[in-house]
Symmetry: C2
Subunit: 128 residues, 2 copies
DNA sequence: CGATGAATTGACTTTTACGTAAATCAGGTG
DNA sequence: CACCTGATTTACGTAAAAGTCAATTCATCG
């Protein structure tokens, strides 16, 4: 496991721009350390980036992603906070389950559409 | 099955604005019929709206949704077109499968985060 | 017929998530 | 040192997806 990644290494690995990484930092999603003025990304920062991009692909907004990231962080020390966090986690799970339903439904519609195509081809006497 | 829905019925059912429905129409996603100037939405239009909103929740852009919707339509009559459509459907499926991976990964991270919270509570001697 | 309330249209505004350009700085190389 | 390459900062720009507002038109009910 590398100790540090430069900003360009991450842009290449994830196919995003430096602007994007700095934007996420500005939004408080990541906090790379600095050597002088240049940013050094730790493996944990890299992992966060991966999680952010996953969230983005799933259609979450930056602030929703921020909420999810809060949850990933070390659990708080206080009992009340812990219960609250567990509650929040459950809420996020609900959102994701809704997305999963949407996803399965869409996949099913695609299956139907494909079947219609295949049938149509069969009617035209074409071997699939 | 109702024959027609008014625009406000659909806005209430789906929790969206009339502006949104007209926007989707302007983008060529739906095509309600008209009685005079007022729009009448058929069950098939309503179904399309449902599919559009699903796509949106999954983070697809309007043009991606437009592509998906093309696929739902009646299959074309020509063999080449049919093969092309089947190919497109497969491509969409790939996108959705990526999203499903993202989704499962995120759910797993949430599980881990919750477990950490529960453990922490146990350490503090709290009954869950 | 006139009032009232829904529907339409068009113009303008807003928010999000970055892109892009310009100026500055830092470190290594010949 | 001069130069080059990369990174940073700041500021402004922009495209997508609506929201908002105002002016009109229609329908219909009393
Ligand atoms: Zn929520
Ligand atoms: Zn369907
Ligand atoms: Zn594609
Ligand atoms: Zn992880």
């Amino acid at each position: 496991m590398r100790e540090y990644y430069t900003i360009t290494e991450l842009t290449r690995e994830f196919g995003i721009s430096t602007r994007t990484l700095r934007f996420y930092e500005d939004e408080g999603l990541i906090n790379p350390v600095r050597r002088g003025r240049t940013r050094l990304y730790r493996p944990s920062d890299r992992h966060l980036v991966r999680q952010i991009l996953r969230g983005r692909r799933l259609g979450f907004s930056i602030s929703e992603i921020r909420e999810i990231i809060q949850v990933y962080k070390a659990p708080p020390g206080e009992v009340g906070q812990l219960h609250l966090m567990i509650q929040k986690i459950e809420e996020k799970r609900q959102h994701l389950r809704q997305k999963r339903r949407d996803l399965e439904d869409t996949l099913q519609e695609l299956d139907q559409a494909e079947e219609a195509c295949v049938e149509r081809l069969a009617e035209l006497g074409v071997k699939t």
